[in-house]
Subunit: 156 residues, 2 copies
C-alpha cells in the first residue's frame, strides 16, 4: 500500500492525453483513444497496462456514499505523540476509514471515515481511534454536503 514503485521519471504528453481521456470516461475504447492521440489501438492498450502496473493510474468506479446509504461521513484530525507513521498505519487498518494522509500543521494525521450511522461513528472514534497508543487528541468535521469531487487533477 505504501510501497509505490519510485517512478520519478516524467510521463510524456501522449500518456498524459491517454489519462485525460480515461479520466473523462474510464470505459472509452482503446481504438477511440488511439485515434485521438495518434497511436495504434495496441499501443494505447499497452500504455494503459503499463500505467496501471506502475501505480500511476487505476480505472475504478467511484460512488456517492450518501446515495449508497452511508449517512455519516467525517474528516477526523488527529494529534499524535511519537511516530505518526505507525499511528497512521493503525488508523488505516480500520474498515470505515477511506483516506489517510500524514500532514504538517496542527494535525499530524487526517483520516476520512464513512459510517452508516452516528452510533457507528461514535464507536469508531471513542473505542477504536482514541484507543490507539500515541493518539493525543482528535477533532471531527462531520460532512454536511459534498460540493465538489474531481478525479482529473494533473491535466488540462
Amino acid at each position: 500500500m505504501a510501497d509505490r514503485t519510485p517512478r520519478v521519471q516524467q510521463l510524456d504528453d501522449i500518456s498524459r492525453a491517454i489519462i485525460e481521456h480515461l479520466q473523462a470516461d474510464g470505459r472509452r475504447s482503446y481504438a477511440d483513444i488511439g485515434k485521438a492521440v495518434g497511436l495504434s489501438e495496441t499501443a494505447v492498450r499497452n500504455r494503459v497496462q503499463r500505467l496501471v502496473d506502475a501505480g500511476v493510474m487505476q480505472i475504478v468506479a467511484v460512488t456517492d456514499p450518501l446515495q449508497l446509504g452511508f449517512a455519516r461521513q467525517a474528516m477526523v484530525g488527529i494529534r499524535t505523540s511519537g511516530d505518526s507513521t505507525r499511528i497512521a498505519a493503525e488508523v488505516s487498518a480500520l474498515p470505515e476509514v477511506t483516506y489517510v494522509v500524514l500532514t504538517a500543521g496542527s494535525f499530524d494525521v487526517l483520516a476520512e471515515v464513512v459510517c452508516a450511522s452516528d452510533d457507528e461513528l461514535i464507536d469508531l472514534l471513542n473505542k477504536r481511534v482514541r484507543a490507539i497508543d500515541g493518539v493525543v487528541a482528535t477533532e471531527s468535521f462531520v460532512y454536511l454536503r459534498l460540493v465538489k469531487q474531481l478525479y482529473d487533477w494533473g491535466t488540462q
Copy 2:
C-alpha cells in the same frame, strides 16, 4: 455539479454487487459481471447506465498526483461568516481544488487542493481563497504522505 438528483430510494443488492465489481476493476466486462450476479449482460449494462445517469457512480481513471508531477497537496480548513454554501461554490470554481465539503465543527468548509509548487499554493491561498467575501480564516494542512486511499466504500 451540486444539483444531484435526490434519489433517496435505496439500491438493491444486485446493483450493490455490480458496483462492487466495478470498484475492483472499472473495465470488467458486463458479461462477466452478469455471470457473477445472476443477470443477463444487457441487464447489467442497463443498470450501470442508470447508476451513472443517476450520479450514484462514475467509472473513471484516478491518478497519483505525485507521479504526475504535482508535488504539493493540502487540505484547507475554512472558517466563514454568512452563507457557507456560496463560499463553498466559489472555492469549487478554483481549478486547483479537487474536493470540497461543507462541514460541522470548527471549520465550515474543507477543501483539498493540488498544486505543482509551493508558490502556486501560496498564490492560491492568499490571492484567491482568502479574497473570497465571507472567508474569515483558513488553516492549511500540507500533505506529507498519502497512506491510504480507497474507492470501495459502501460495500462488503
